[in-house]
């Protein structure tokens, strides 16, 4: 589904008496989100990204502007009617419910328009299908063996997955004991029994003057499937939970309480709970902020995988640029409620539109110097660092140089001399902590090839021009030359 935000604004009114000004959390934000896209809302804390997410979810009302899901205006639609899945920053799993019940909860509220089925007859048919191939059933059951023991619950789970049936039905089938070779001869006996039951059920339906088709769906007078507004049945809910549990790989933990799970597992449960009702859009609010570094990388790949498999439009809020860069199709960089830049992560990284975006993206961050443009060159201090194609008027500017833009080579005319204070090697490459009188910021970091052999002290570097950006001193916008 496409999502369109039009001039979305959220104002928190201040208090004139106390001299508190209005706070504008989101300011005139317009974004088009394509169907099936993973969009990252990126910005420092307090930039309005979460507020934007909650407005899309319907948990916060916009002051002005509109939100469209496809062509439908949902601005005034209540949260519960928007059909969205939301993963909260702290997951908000219900602590008193098992994982299974947590995921089931949204489904128990759902009313769907679906064909009316003859459930009893259908279940007999499914049982017949399963027991007709005893070897397959045996194989599926034996797979559940742990330490030489087969438990009913575990075996039922395996049977349920093997045949895409509900756990309840699987338990019933397991209880027949047909996986046991001693009961080999009973297969036919059971077959006749359930065939008889099925026949009885069909006759019962016929006697009520009702028609069903081969899939046990009730038909109306025109032989069209009878669609009714109803709640999901226990079996249907179970099927959906098992499917989503497998998708996010938590099928082993369904009977546990959230407190008994690790952060990463809780995270998956939260995603499963959001996905199980097949939402039109999935919203993730800083989903990785509670995980440790290693798990964060693993989980973000997982989110990407799940998003690809379900192809659901997803909006992902984060303050971590690396997270957003690594998995998002598009990113929106926000500051003070305004959109600074929109585009594919690599494009935004390569072509930052202003100093803020340049500073925000990239790790280690970009190095900013005070410099100026004179004639056909860019200067920092007395040094010419970059050649320009044509002459320019004199103007002061910020020069942003990515850490990887420095070349460990000598260039006679265009170069920048830094003082190397310390050398850190990470194996893959070498970081130099340097200093320069015109540098503005915390730490001047240069990343070079690990083959180079730097020594402490003064060193002049040549620069890759594509990774050097010039910004206006006043409005900090990019200067395109």
């Amino acid at each position: 589904m496409e999502i369109k935000l039009v001039a979305l604004t959220k104002k928190y009114p201040g208090d004139v008496k106390k001299g508190i000004k209005d706070t504008v959390a989101v300011d005139n934000l317009s974004i088009d989100i394509k169907d099936g896209e993973l969009l990252g809302l990126l910005g420092p804390s307090g930039c309005g990204k979460s507020t934007t997410l909650y407005m899309i979810a319907g948990l916060k009302d916009p002051t002005s502007g509109e939100i469209y899901f496809d062509d439908e205006d949902v601005t005034d639609l209540e949260a519960e009617k928007r059909g969205i899945g939301l993963v909260f920053q702290n997951y908000a799993l219900y602590p008193h419910m098992t994982v299974y019940k947590n995921i089931a909860f949204p489904l128990t509220n759902l009313r769907v328009s679906a064909p009316k089925k003859a459930y009893k007859a259908l279940s007999y048919k499914l049982i017949l299908d399963v027991i007709s191939d005893r070897e397959r059933l045996k194989k599926a059951t034996l797979k559940s063996e742990i330490d030489g023991k087969i438990t009913k619950d575990n075996a039922a789970l395996y049977i349920a997955y093997e045949y895409s049936i509900s756990k309840y039905l699987a338990k019933k089938i397991f209880s027949l004991g047909l996986h046991d070779d001693n009961n080999k001869d009973k297969v036919d006996e059971y077959k006749t029994y359930f065939e008889k039951k099925l026949q009885e059920e069909k006759e019962k339906i016929n006697s009520k003057q009702k028609k069903i088709d081969d899939n046990f769906v009730y038909l109306d007078e025109n032989n069209n499937p009878l669609i009714v507004k109803r709640k999901l049945t226990k079996d249907e809910i179970d099927r959906l939970i098992l499917d989503v549990a497998r998708l996010v790989q938590i099928d082993e933990y369904l009977d546990r309480k959230p407190a008994e799970l690790s952060g990463g597992q809780q995270q998956r449960v939260a995603i499963a709970r959001a996905l199980v009702k097949k939402p039109r859009v999935l919203l993730l609010d800083e989903p990785l902020s509670n995980l440790d570094a290693r798990l964060r990388i693993k989980t973000r790949e997982e989110i990407k995988r799940i998003q690809r498999e379900t192809n659901i439009t997803t909006i992902f809020v984060t303050h971590d640029q690396e997270e957003a860069m690594s998995i998002c199709d598009d990113i929106v960089v926000m500051k003070d409620g305004k959109m600074m830049q929109f585009g594919a992560p690599q494009d935004v990284y390569k072509n930052p539109s202003d100093l803020f975006v340049a500073k925000f993206l990239g790790n280690p961050p970009i190095n900013v110097f005070k410099g100026y443009i004179k004639d056909d060159a860019v200067f920092i201090g007395d040094e010419k660092i970059m050649h320009l194609d044509h002459k320019e008027n004199y103007r002061d500017c910020y020069v942003g140089i990515r850490p990887e833009a420095f070349i460990f080579e000598h260039d006679k005319e265009y170069h920048l001399t830094l003082n190397i204070d310390s050398i850190q090697s990470t194996g893959k490459d070498t970081s130099l902590i340097c200093s320069h009188p015109q540098f503005v910021g915390d730490q001047l970091k240069v990343v070079i090839d690990s083959d180079s052999n730097p020594v402490l002290g003064k060193k002049d570097f040549a620069l890759k021009y594509s990774k050097v950006y010039l910004f206006d001193m006043k409005d900090e916008k990019r200067i395109e030359l």
Partner: protein, 312 residues
């Protein structure tokens, strides 16, 4: 390292520990002992040795001794215990449920929230005896209750003047429920206040009906507080005494021989105070121990039930 300065901690705790031992631990032990002594003399401490008779007498198992009927020891099993159980098992569940409903509703309103909270908490800071006396006036034959419901000239609280045990119990339970509400509401309100907004949001996103959110999410989330309140309310209910004084004291001055409104604690006090100059501390002690055992059993049952239903 950890144990080095232990004596200092004990030294600092010593004053309070001495007081606790003197006025709590020692009396408890002493009560147990006295409850097993025959014909205990409260002044001299003289007694006729160990016996189970005190329990037998107050529980009506042992035959009454002729000539000491004025001690009214049978009032314990005949009035005090049934009344106490009735008050507890009628008023506590009603009071807890009512407090829950009020707290949940109170939590939902934004306008005048503080005002209502104050109103609901006011009874807590009011003296219970004073409340009892006001109740007595409200339920007197010319009182507000009769006027509002148009019941005419019914006397609710003065047993000697036309009221009955049933009417008195009705007023008593009403009183216990009402005075118990504020503290419960306070605890529940603060528990509700502490529930993370994300749970409500999550429920909303999942299109949960309001009643279902309250029943399936909110209640389990505050179940530890519900358990705490239930247990303490039961204990308070078993110890009910103030209410009788506040509501019915006058009826005793009119008819000092009617004891059908006794509660266990009232009985204990009466035995200590003595009637006609004879004090029976051993009966009072036995009554106290019986009360202790009852409270213990009910608390253990509640803890057991709670294991399954309370989620910390």
């Amino acid at each position: 390292m950890e144990r080095k300065n232990n004596y200092k901690a004990w030294l600092y705790l010593a004053p309070i520990l001495i007081f606790i031992f003197l006025f709590t631990i020692f009396p408890i032990i002493n009560t147990f002992i006295i409850s097993f002594l025959k014909n205990y003399n409260y002044a001299t401490g003289a007694n006729e040795g160990f016996t189970f008779e005190n329990y037998g007498l107050i529980l009506g198992i042992t035959e009454r001794i002729p000539g000491v009927s004025e001690s009214k020891m049978l009032d314990f099993i005949r009035y005090a215990l049934p009344n106490t159980l009735l008050i507890t098992f009628v008023s506590v569940p009603i009071s807890v449920i009512l407090a829950l409903v009020i707290s949940i509703l109170l939590n939902k309103i934004k306008v005048l929230h503080d005002l209502f909270q104050t109103i609901f908490f006011l009874p807590y800071v009011t003296n219970t005896i004073a409340v009892g006396m006001v109740f007595a006036i409200i339920f007197s034959n010319t009182g507000l209750f009769n006027n509002i419901f148009g019941l005419g000239n019914v006397n609710w609280v003065q047993e000697g003047l036309g009221s009955t045990w049933g009417k008195c119990m009705f007023v008593l339970c009403l009183y216990v429920i009402w005075t118990g509400l504020p503290f419960k509401i306070l605890i529940f309100s603060s528990a509700l206040h502490n529930i993370d907004q994300q749970y409500y949001d999550a429920a909303r996103i999942d299109a949960t009906p309001k009643w279902k959110t309250d029943l399936k999410i909110v209640l389990p989330l505050i179940s530890p507080q519900i358990l705490y309140i239930t247990i303490t309310s039961f204990i308070t209910g078993f110890k009910e005494y103030n209410a009788i004084i506040g509501l019915f004291n006058r009826s005793y001055t009119i008819n000092p021989n009617v004891h059908d409104l006794y509660t266990v604690v009232y009985y204990i006090y009466d035995q200590i105070q003595g009637t006609n100059g004879t004090r029976h501390l051993e009966y009072a002690a036995a009554g106290a121990v019986v009360l202790f055992v009852i409270i213990l059993i009910f608390t253990l049952i509640q803890m057991k039930v709670a294991k399954k239903r309370v989620h910390y």
